[in-house]
């Protein structure tokens, strides 16, 4: 549409007009265009390419001409009257213009529909294209998948082919091996035969040689030593060996053979006759059985004929007879097959099946026996179960009792243990209490004696020294002396000692004595009079208290013997001997601590 506008620009050649030639939009019939026809043609520059401006007042005729030409080109009648050639300037006809416009409109509509159609087609084609593309894509995928499959199948086939080839090769090799082995066997056989022959020949040679030797030697040892001849078994005289006898022997031999063959033939004839009879019987029976049947009606006449012919010459028709019976048998079989299983069960079987009856009897018996066996087995099982149940019940009682018994035993044991332990604890407690009492008492005593001692000491400081020897010589007063550091060290010791003493005296068990502590304590004791101290210990803790008592008394000074022994007897039994030892040199009373006897 723009072309003619451009050409019109060229034709106009008027610069201001040229500028005013603008490409019109698709609607040349817009009111703007009509307006521009009447307006002033001079337009500002920006409107140079305004599409609405094609014609202005000056170039109407040119425009009309141009339009007419164009319309002519398009196939529409010109815009001019018939009087165009005469007066082109005024021959413009509005009617023709309107017609032209109508024609253009028509054309336009046609073209528009065409365009729509084309657009539709274009869209369709696009969608089809998409479809096709999709389908193509899918097909391509399919193709790829199939190709893969093909590839895998091809590989499999290759493998199979390989295996086939392998197997073929193996087969070949095996065959070759077989052939080889056979040839080896054959060759070996030949070889062995050859060897055998050789050896036999050697052997025969040896035998010949030996025979020769034997016969040559005329060994007198080879002899028979018989008392007297005995007669022949059959009583007859022996015959000379002549040709006659030989021929007679031959005769006899042939006679034997001939008789044997005749006997055989007789037997065979009899067998044959028997078989023929049986066959004939079979045939007759079959015929009788098959004749009521429509299928076999055709067979009956020829069989009748054959029977008669058979009766005449058995040998000629032996084959026929067998054939005939065979045919009948086949038809019977077909018939039976047709009747089916039910018919077989109900139809009477021709009496060839005697052995079947016996078999079924046998089977019945066997079945009965089996039934009985099963029943007895069941009974046995049931009894077994009952027995087991009973045993189980009994067992349960027992097991329950036994469980309880176990528990009871356990409880009993535990109780025993517990009682023992409680006893032990009681004993211990008693001991401890006694020990504590003793301790208290001894403490008291100790305090008293301490007080005594102090008093004595105090008194010893006085000049009345000699009179105090007696009390000095009471080292055997046995009481527990606990030095302060001893108390710190082992508060248990006195109790232990008490218990130990008790035990010693009561001849009960010994406790493990802390001998090392005793040694320590020994150290604490004063060095002076150490030996005396030890002796005291030994003597005090000897198992025989009487001896114990006597010895120290012997060591003591005589005047105090009786008294000491008395005190000792009094105290030694009850107390551990501890004590003082007097250092007579410096008159210091050392209180020591008797260690344990062990």
């Amino acid at each position: 549409m723009g072309d003619w506008k451009v050409t019109s620009i060229v034709e106009a050649g008027n610069p201001p007009d040229a500028k005013s030639f603008i490409l019109r939009p698709a609607s040349p019939f817009s009111p703007a265009s009509t307006i521009t026809l009447h307006r002033s043609p001079v337009l500002p520059l920006p409107n140079l390419f305004n599409q609405n401006v094609f014609c202005w007042g000056d170039n109407v005729e040119e425009c009309v001409l141009y339009l007419s030409k164009e319309l002519n080109k398009l196939g529409l009648p010109a815009l001019f009257d018939d009087s165009f050639e005469e007066n082109p300037a005024s021959s413009f006809s509005l009617v023709s213009l309107i017609n032209g416009v109508y024609g253009l409109l028509h054309l336009y509509r046609k073209n528009a529909t065409k365009v729509d159609g084309l657009e539709m087609e274009r869209l369709k084609s696009f969608s089809e294209q998409d479809c096709l593309k999709n389908s193509q894509f899918k097909l391509q995928e399919q193709v790829a998948a199939l190709e893969q499959e093909i590839a895998t199948l091809a590989t499999k086939e290759e493998q199979r082919q390989k295996s086939i080839r392998n197997l073929n090769n193996q087969l070949k090799s095996q065959k070759e091996e077989i052939a080889k082995l056979q040839s080896v066997i054959a060759s070996r056989a030949a070889q062995y035969l050859h060897d055998l022959k050789r050896k036999e020949q050697e052997l025969s040679k040896l035998k010949e040689k030996m025979n020769h030797h034997l016969t040559d030697k005329k060994d007198k040892r080879i002899a028979i030593d018989i008392l007297n001849h005995i007669g022949r078994a059959d009583g007859r005289r022996p015959l000379w060996r002549t040709g006659k006898t030989e021929s007679r022997r031959e005769e006899e031999m042939y006679k034997v053979l001939a008789t044997n063959y005749e006997a055989q033939i007789q037997e065979l004839v009899l067998d044959n006759a028997e078989l023929m009879r049986v066959l004939n019987q079979m045939k007759r029976e079959l015929r009788g059985f098959l004749s009521p049947d429509k299928l076999c009606q055709a067979n009956s006449p020829p069989s009748l004929e054959e029977e008669t012919s058979v009766n005449e010459s058995q040998e000629a028709t032996r084959g026929h007879l067998a054939y005939c019976v065979q045919k009948q048998w086949n038809t019977l079989k077909d018939h039976m097959a047709k009747l089916g299983v039910v018919a077989m069960q109900t139809s009477p079987v021709v009496g060839k099946n005697d052995h079947v009856v016996s078999i079924t009897d046998h089977d019945k018996e066997i079945a009965n026996l089996k039934l009985e066996l099963e029943q007895s087995k069941e009974i046995i099982y049931a009894q077994q179960h009952l027995l087991e149940d009973q045993l189980a019940i009994q067992k349960e009682d027992l097991t329950r009792g036994s469980d309880l018994l176990e528990e009871e035993e356990w409880f009993y044991k535990e109780r025993q243990l517990f009682e023992e332990q409680s006893k032990n604890f009681e004993m211990e407690r008693q001991r401890f209490t006694e020990a504590a009492i003793r301790l208290g008492q001894e403490r008291k005593q100790f305090e008293e004696e301490r007080a005594l001692y102090l008093k004595e000491q105090f008194l010893n400081l006085t000049p009345f020294r000699d009179q105090r020897t007696k009390p000095k010589r009471k080292p055997q007063t046995s009481f527990v002396v606990t030095s302060p550091d001893q108390e710190n060290l082992s508060p248990h010791l006195p109790t232990q000692k008490i218990s130990m003493s008790r035990r010693c005296q009561h001849a009960s068990m010994h406790t493990p004595s802390p001998s090392f502590k005793c040694t320590k304590l020994r150290r604490h004791s004063l060095p002076a009079g150490h030996e005396l101290y030890e002796v005291l210990i030994e003597t005090c803790f000897r198992p025989a208290p009487t001896e114990q008592l006597k010895k120290p008394s012997s060591m003591r000074e005589s005047p105090s013997n009786q008294r000491d022994s008395a005190t000792q007897t009094r105290t030694g039994l009850r107390w551990i001997g501890t004590g003082f030892f007097l250092n007579e040199h410096d008159d210091s009373l050392c209180c020591g601590h008797l260690c344990s006897p062990i």
Binding site: L193, R232, V256, Y261
Partner: protein, 407 residues
């Protein structure tokens, strides 16, 4: 069932006379003839050396004692205890000795099977037969005693000579088609001679009395072949036992296989009865076959065999139907079995101290009541089927059966 006391014997040489009256027992070099019923000693003969073989003559009048080491054969007479006969083979040596069926000739096989010497007790004459074959059953007499077949080997080939026993006349001499003949046996009717090859090849040849080849039978190739052969008493069947654990029975008309009897370790036939000796089962054995005598036409025949691979088993086949009838499983290997000469009764011994009897009515196991260990190693029926002689290593015992004792 009664058992006699034990008697000493050596080499298991204890034979009953064919007429059933006497029993001969060897003890080292002594021959003790006893009455068969009372076991009373009738005669006592002393031979020159330890006896290795004894044989009664067919008429029960004479008995031969062979001493192979010294090559001596001594013959004693029962009618005349003073009569004596001694045959010395000297340097020729002696490996076998037997009576001829007429009871008047002795056939000695010399060492290395060099020759067979036929000594006549009637004429003091000697005949020699050269090249006898050294095989298991190289010589056989017909039942009627008229003919003798002998296998020979000449020029590395097997031959058979048929002699007429009355004059020791050669009747026929023919070559056989065997590689290495192992045995020959006449049929009971004396018309057919069965010849079989060694076990390397399965081949049985059947020759007629006049030397014609009647038939050849070979079941298979390339495997161990025939082990033992037995004729049926009626000469109708020939049973061939082979190393493939099967017995094939040929019929006398066509000499073709009638039936093949298999000895399977597992028995599937529900009709066959199996007797099993209590306690364990075992495997392995020897293939011997024997047919019992024909009793009556009605009774069925049995053939029994013990198998190569199952020596503890005795298979009894019904010869009428050729079906498996009974299988007897023993605890240990069957040492020998023998049919009762008169009826269908089988006695088996396995080396234990029991003797086993089977009859169609049932099975019976009897322990030999003997102090110490009496192990039955072999047994012999009395010709009248009333008693069995049981032999252990060095003792013998007679077992008396009641005739009514059928089971």
């Amino acid at each position: 069932m009664n058992f006699s006391e034990l008697f000493k014997q050596s080499n298991q040489l204890c034979r009953l006379s064919p007429d059933g009256k006497y029993s001969a027992v060897c003890v080292q070099y002594r021959l003790v003839i006893r009455d068969a019923q009372t076991l009373q000693i009738l005669h006592l003969y002393t031979c020159l050396d330890q006896i290795q073989y004894i044989e009664w003559s067919a008429d029960s009048l004479f008995i031969l004692c062979a001493m192979y080491k010294r090559g001596l054969v001594q013959i004693w007479s029962l009618e005349q205890p003073d009569w004596h006969c001694k045959i010395d083979e000297g340097s020729a040596g002696l490996v076998a000795s037997r009576w001829s069926p007429d009871g008047r000739h002795i056939l000695n096989t010399t060492e290395f099977h060099l020759r067979i010497t036929v000594w006549s007790l009637c004429t003091k004459s000697v005949s020699y037969i050269k090249y006898p074959k050294a095989c298991q059953h190289g010589m056989d007499f017909t039942k009627n005693g008229h003919y003798m077949a002998l296998a020979e080997r000449r020029d590395c080939k097997d031959h058979i000579s048929i002699f007429v026993c009355s004059e020791w006349q050669l009747l026929r001499h023919f070559e056989t088609e065997t590689q290495d003949l192992a045995g020959i046996e006449w049929s009971p009717n004396g018309c057919v001679l069965a010849v079989w090859d060694s076990c390397l090849e399965y081949k049985i040849l059947l020759y007629s009395l006049d030397g014609r080849l009647l038939s050849v039978y070979s079941a298979y190739e390339w495997s161990l072949g025939v082990k033992s052969v037995a004729w049926s008493p009626s000469s109708q069947f020939l049973a061939i036992g082979s190393y493939d654990e099967k017995v094939r029975i040929l019929n006398h008309v066509t000499w073709r296989k009638l039936v093949e009897l298999e000895h399977l370790p597992t028995i599937r036939d529900p009709k066959s009865v199996i007797y099993k000796e209590v306690e364990s089962r075992q495997r392995l054995g020897g293939e011997d076959m024997s047919f019992p005598p024909i009793l009556t036409e009605k009774s069925s025949l049995f053939s029994s065999e013990s198998k190569y691979n199952m020596p503890n088993t005795v298979w009894i086949w019904d010869a009428q139907k050729f079906k498996q009838y009974v299988v007897l499983e023993q605890l240990s290997a069957v040492k020998s079995f023998q049919w009762d000469p008169c009826r269908a009764r089988l006695a088996i011994c396995t080396g234990s101290n029991k003797v086993y009897l089977w009859s169609p009515a049932g099975c019976l196991t009897v322990q030999v009541p003997a102090e110490g260990n009496f192990q039955v190693l072999s047994l012999h029926w009395h010709p009248n089927g009333d008693s069995i002689i049981l032999l252990s290593k060095d003792q013998m015992c007679v077992c008396y059966l009641d005739t009514a004792d059928a089971s």
